[in-house]
Symmetry: C2
Subunit: 375 residues, 2 copies
């Protein structure tokens, strides 16, 4: 029997409840397909931070880097200022493990209620490849006060005003600023990943940017996209401004096969995508480093108000678990989990409130595990 050791970070809020169901279903798949998982729990999250002051230590990160895939619940807690846990744990892990692809399938499963009119599962079935380590997520920014004339902003302001004949003030009173950056290497590798998904099929690759306004950063993105596209002459491509693509996700989701996007825009459009595929309760994501340590999670947050109520939908997490074991090499078991999710949904007997049912989180996990086991 194949043995896997998989680290798991249940995290905050509803995290422990949904992770329990994700583990349950993977364990069932192991029973069926002949592997056994040794789950290694990590305590990181709000409670651990409040007790110890530690977000995630270098030691924990080093230890985790010995594994191929991490199973993550959700991070975030109302007792702590927005960003502290998210940046200190979730983003720290994405960056530390260099998980440069955030892979988010947008797929309307059969039997799921779609909020968009006239769309069927055949219309909503594409993949978003979100860059996951650069862009405006690098945490570089600050504040400037009046009179910091040697500050870079002042230098740029002067150039900008000269270019456009305008007069932008940086020293009005006080400012907050943020810097995003993307590198050639960081941009090319994620775009390459997207093209690899499309290569050899009739899928096309759609790029997202806002090169008409944030021209420095996303003009660069577009150049790198074109450079990679040139190496894949058989794959069709198109460009989408981020504002426009939010419309097409609603109106014409059937246009898309593989969408590749800078980090921040990817964050925004995948939440929209999650809604289009039936809601956050159904949307999984993988933070992937193809050669290193990947991490799989539901894309929803920790929903503190539902904590401990056995109420929320575990399907996003169970689906993320399927992506996790696929990454471990258990493709057949992964497919069986996704198919069990589909059966659970089409039977429509054991469902949580968000899908119109009255079952608990654990009932849904039980039901999907049962289906995986063929019982």
């Amino acid at each position: 029997m194949t043995q896997y050791k998989i680290p798991v970070i249940p995290g905050d809020g509803i995290g422990p409840e949904i992770i329990a169901e994700g583990r349950k279903v993977i364990d069932a798949a192991g029973e069926k397909f002949g592997f056994d998982v040794n789950w290694v729990e990590f305590p990181h999250g709000a409670d651990h931070y409040l007790e110890t002051g530690e977000l995630i230590s270098e030691d924990s990160l080093k230890e985790l880097s010995g594994y191929k895939g991490i199973f993550l619940g959700s991070i975030g807690d109302d007792r702590i200022a927005p960003g502290v846990l998210e940046k200190g744990i979730l983003l720290a892990a994405r960056f530390y493990f260099d998980q440069y692809v955030n892979l988010r399938p947008i797929k309307l499963l059969d039997g799921v209620w779609c909020p968009i009119k006239d769309k069927t599962p055949a219309d909503i079935d594409f993949t978003v490849v979100r860059e996951n380590t650069e862009d405006f997520y690098i945490g570089i920014g600050g504040r400037a006060k009046s009179g910091v004339s040697k500050d870079v902003l002042e230098v740029h302001r002067t150039l900008y005003n000269a270019k456009f004949g305008l007069d932008i003030e940086t020293d009005s009173e006080e400012i907050g600023y943020q810097i995003g950056m993307i590198s050639k290497e960081g941009t090319q590798r994620v775009i390459n990943y997207a093209f690899d998904l499309a290569e050899g099929s009739d899928k096309h690759v759609s790029s997202v940017d806002k090169a008409n306004v944030l021209s420095d950063i996303y003009g660069f993105w577009r150049e790198e996209f074109n450079a990679v596209a040139a190496k894949h002459p058989d794959v069709k491509t198109d460009f989408n401004f981020v504002d426009a693509i939010t419309m097409w996700f609603v109106k014409n989701p059937e246009w898309f096969d593989v969408v590749v996007t800078p980090n921040m825009f990817g964050d925004i459009i995948t939440d929209l995508g999650a809604m289009v595929q039936g809601g956050l309760g159904l949307a999984p994501g993988g933070n992937i480093n193809p050669e290193g340590t990947s991490m799989f999670e539901p894309i929803h947050g920790s929903a503190p108000k539902y904590k401990g109520q056995n109420k929320v939908n575990p399907i996003a997490t169970i689906w993320a678990g399927a992506m996790l074991i696929e990454q471990m090499g258990e493709k057949e078991a992964a497919d069986a989990i996704v198919s069990a999710i589909e059966t659970n949904i089409s039977e429509a007997k054991v469902q949580t409130y968000d899908m119109g049912g009255s079952a608990g989180t654990s009932d849904v996990g039980d039901d999907i595990a049962r289906i995986v086991l063929g019982k």
Copy 2:
């Protein structure tokens, strides 16, 4: 008879066609409500740029600043690199005239097909107040090559790496970067504008940010929002991460009354809002400087492929025209135009292709003008 002088920039692509209908309807409203408009045409756009090399000159801007409201068609042309015309004309005007509010009503009119299930005009009726002069729209950014160690990015990288114990490389090979900034004054004035819209009603104000990740710029936004909110203790408020609000726009648009947002997120969510209200052909916007020169436009682009075909929907432009004359003080005439748009739509006889009809652009303008005149 009141006389107005209104500058008009038809612009590119379908701009001239839709502006012709907007003017036609305002002229009809003038006939009915006793005012007369002297339209002053400005040539700015792609052709003018290709012929003369001029985007929009300081002289033109100075001349335009003598007026209260500008009527703008659309800017953008495939012959010219993305961003050149948009930044050189549209954004230059927004900045030059300090039009710090971009006002975008999201309203599903009776009889309009909504792509979202189970929503009626009562559910989709709110206003987005988009900041319009700061944030990532200031055009500050650039490229850095390997070895620019004195560059600000290097300084920040060091700080960032020290803070998170990570190792972000800025000198991998080459990078593109972009800086956004918001000022206390610039942030407060637009948030004030949003609160003024809600004050004295039961409307609440929703703030949009991504303070959990872009903490420097949007943590600052949140502080300023709280400072303004403290002066309006009777107005309820809430905070929305930009990724989450795209979901609520689709699932629960009835939650919103007044949404105030930084510039870039406002760009994204108002395109989504336009789709939710029935499509870009129906979405108007006002770039407003309450004490200076404002500018009204459809929020859609120049749609080059439809140019000269008398095909596209002029309603967004006609509606923007109503906002324009409301700004001039002609509230009754503005209301009459909006109500004529509603009549045209509910009669469903003279409609363009996007609304399921086969009428031309000018037919729709004729029909709405007729209704305004009570014929």
